[in-house]
Symmetry: D2
Subunit: 346 residues, 4 copies
């Protein structure tokens, strides 16, 4: 039986929990001034090949919203894809953290904001001066919410637009590792070299317990980030345990290995599914998240077999299958075998 | 060399990190609907001998502010001691979470809000109808910020006042364990039996990594708490790791054993200090936090010896010494020996 | 030369400024406890044939946002038409007053929210529990932002939907007078009898200087409204001057006479325009707001003639023409004559 | 019978209501881009002998809170006297507009913040870095809430402190006219020449209907003010009626004449009261607000005579008597005669 419900359902990688256990004894200064935290900050700078302001927090919603609030005033506008996590899955956390900024959403294939529509939406949204909002942030997700990757050129197109309008470009990177793994573009290529101002770099879905880094490449615009984190209640007292997670996550490129595995499982699943009649893909699904159209009875039959996965609320008749660093080939094969059998019966 | 800087500087108890490691493998539903979370909720109900709504979060600021915001409207007033954590150490997190409620502070020995002053402050604060605030919450800390314990009768006096005015009584219990340990009053006696509406029950300072429970005894007033937690970004996806910490924390009364040890170290320290000429106590200091007046040169000499502790910003010439579940008798003895030597030299 | 820019550009009706002048001498209790205010509250109850909670404020944005915030929590959702004033013209005031609720917009002809799309949007928006929002308010405008009227039956359809989902129905009535004038449906028919919970009843655009009433038919849900008004800074000290405006506005049905005149001018303009080749209507335009499609060169030529009106940002090639209580037939005729001449030349 | 309840209870000066009536006919662009508004902005610049950014609003709470929010981040601290209007009479409007900044209060004679206490409070408030607040604004009132005037030198002492700490100095000038009238210091002397960053310049209490100007001398720090005003719902559509009030208010120094009259009445009242045995002053009371200690039975007897005035909630046994531009000498005399009679009886 396969569990493709979410990479959030996976546990913690042994090396990460081990690193946490190693930090468990002894005293360390609280609130992020410990040595391990400083070291992780340096490792993040090395990884991204540039000086950064990096803040660690425990959840993805916190990482996204602290990042957005650092760039966006209460009368600002944030522009994202209609399928994005900040638009659908974070309650009104973006409004809380920004003090009431407004989110605008656009369409676009594979949950990549359509550039033309984005230009038009920004234009209209800010057109009435003080009566409207001040366009402040373009937010994309990489991986996108529909499992697609951005190329550096695609990202640069957004950042050029943002810069031309005095806006910032933010990336929700809850699955940034899956976007990097197995490709030739470096973390730097996919961020600041393409004009990105900040990235929420997720570890939780990819082997950590509760750890996300908000990585600001635009350091001068990040001066308020620490205070925003604190007043959100996201400054851990025993901060070294956020750092320990990231330390192990970065060690020997564990983050890439984990993501590579998840992607491979995802793509193995995809290639098997493509061979099954009646199965279609609702998005490009190029990493560890697959968006699959199938008849509801087939989905129900799979659930009855004990496989776990969710219907995707905004795309009719579409189901999301997510693989993770713990997914086994046997799960993939079992799932596909059951589906093949169902397809044949049907 | 002793580290009395903060119980936040301590690590994680072996049994707690072990429990987390045990949860690290395997899949579990995300966002708090897993079995371990349910079990912890039941254990908290058992511990408090009543039905409760319990939410787990990673930081004390989050626990306090989500609890306060559940009870207080944006035009409400929160009344606390001037030395309290919510008044001094959580930036403007209470304002963020409540949408802009106001905090009023009063004095009182040992950081226990003076009842008469409290009555008067509440009265004046709400006296001008819509022009002023709507008194909403009395917030006390147990242990208090100056290391004192409340008796059930003292708590009941606040809750009677709160009830008579349509207000709620909230306890910041970051060190609730230290208030319970070694005394005859049960957790129930110190909370709902004394009229408390909600408690933030801290584990982080007492052996956990990052885990606090917001325990609502007034369940009908707690309906919004979950949404407030989510929009604060405090709903962990891998929620079982909050639960695992609490599970081990409650197992075999580890929480009490840890707190008892911290208290014993604190009281050992206290009795040795009392015997040193020139050392005075600025508060009753009856658990694991001692507030000690000494000449600055002596404090500086102790720092030079390598001992760690902080000056307390709001009490002139006063230093805070905190013991924890990891403090060793040798630290206590070494610190006192050094101080005795300094006192003799002086 | 005609000024069809906005009914906001008109002045104050002589009877209203006269009433204000009459109130100018003598003393009166401040902050809305004066006799004139009480009398206006009673007159509003009479006008709507039911007991109401009525609050007066100086701007339409305040009236809308205080009304919405009274019904919507910070984690709530507000559903309105994409063309609505609250969605486009009030900056992030709705977010400010609600403490960060989210607005969702739907389409629909003539700026009437399409019911089917509304149902679907509400459904999806709240579908993910605490991860999404709590649907709270359906907000319609009558007149709509595109100059259309709602019938009581149409309104009832929204209120039934709202009630079935535990939501409230709010009407932005900046031009409510224009919706009532010359029709057989009473103010009661168009509000509480059709299930409306609250109405912002505008006077400013229709002859007053700065006066809007927030009329709550759902009184039990309105308990916080006064405090929300105060903390928004919208409780006038010399409140009798809000009351004086409304008093004169309601006297001898001045409000209806003004609106009737504006509507007649609008419909006179409409019938003449309909006879001009090449002019099309982008909405039903059944009162004092006309939405007209014409070639840009014609619009520019009209501007050069000295006529004032605006391009409508969200509808391509569409211009808004608004008549008011001060519009004269000669303006209408002059405008149409110029346009006819242009159409002939073209 | 005298009405010393509040200068808010007075009406509108004939010249001001006349100016409003003159503006009532004809069309004008909405939202503050009309000619009269521009002219008032220039007149304010002339009055203050410097370039300013001036925004008009309808209430004092709005003026204060928009001004404060322009200077203070959500994690900032505002420091004011414990008797100040922003601390006691504006509900949680300061918190709403700043997005949750915190107010700190200090004591001091005559409601002038004690400098030493201010320094100490700012120091402690910001001492714990991100755990505490970022001191942002010192706010004083001139007149103070207890009817005292500041000299330019006194103001400069606050501004020097503010500047030395990177903070701003804000003046609540609801009764600024009363502070200027009859003294030799100019508006410029009492504001920017003494280092003031912004002033809310009140007209409502001094003859206008509903009009306050937020005058920013620190223009570069005022860039967000317009958007903050709009999202508070305080941008009037028929803005010329705010401008008309100010225009008449400034014409021929009506503002000074009104304030001078109010002050003279106040000082006449004061000198008569000083001669009555048993009457004491709780503050310096040097303009149009007197704070008088008298036995409660005497106050009650005066109320029974039909005189109107309020007990001051925060000063025991103290009553506030306020004169305004409409107070007549006969009221003053009648009040004092009654009190003298009571004093003799007693």
């Amino acid at each position: 039986m396969a569990n493709f419900g979410s990479d959030n359902a996976s546990g913690v990688h042994p090396k990460i929990i081990e690193a946490m256990a190693l930090s468990a004894s002894g005293m360390a200064p609280a609130y992020g001034v410990d040595e391990l935290t400083k070291s992780v900050e340096q490792r993040l700078a090395s990884l991204f090949e540039t000086d950064v302001t990096a803040l660690l927090v425990g959840t993805g919603t916190a990482a996204n919203c602290i990042g957005l609030a650092t760039f966006c005033s209460p009368f600002g506008g944030i522009f994202a894809h209609a399928e994005s996590h900040i638009a659908n899955d974070e309650s009104t956390a973006p409004e809380l953290y920004t003090g009431g900024a407004r989110q605008f959403t656009v369409g676009g294939d594979d949950a990549k904001p359509n550039l033309e529509e984005l230009v038009q939406k920004i234009d209209v949204s800010g057109a009435r001066g003080v009566h409207s909002v001040e366009p402040a942030v373009i937010a994309i997700s990489n991986l996108t919410e529909l499992g697609a990757r951005f190329s550096p050129d695609e990202i640069a197109a957004y950042s050029e637009l943002a810069k031309s309008l005095g806006m910032k470009l933010f990336i929700d990177g809850a699955r940034f590792a899956n976007a990097v793994a197995g490709e030739s573009d470096s973390p730097a290529d996919l961020t600041w070299r393409a004009g990105v101002d900040a990235l929420s770099f997720g570890a939780t879905k990819n082997g950590a317990m509760a750890a996300e880094a908000i990585v600001f490449f635009n350091k001068s615009a990040a001066v308020n980030a620490e205070r925003i984190r604190k007043r959100g209640g996201h400054l851990w007292s025993k901060h070294r345990f956020l750092a320990a997670q990231f330390d192990a996550f970065l060690d020997d490129d564990l983050w890439l290995a984990n993501a590579r595995h998840a992607n491979q499982m995802g793509q193995s699943l995809k290639s098997q599914l493509q061979a099954i009649p009646g199965i279609e893909f609702a998005s490009v699904s190029e990493a560890n998240e697959l968006f699959v159209r199938m008849p509801k009875p087939q989905a129900e039959a799979l659930w009855e077999c004990g496989h776990a996965f969710y219907e995707w609320p905004s795309l009719e008749g579409t189901y999301r299958l997510v693989t993770s660093f713990t997914t086994e080939q046997a799960e993939v094969d079992a799932f596909c075998a059951d589906l093949r059998a169902l397809a044949t019966d049907g």
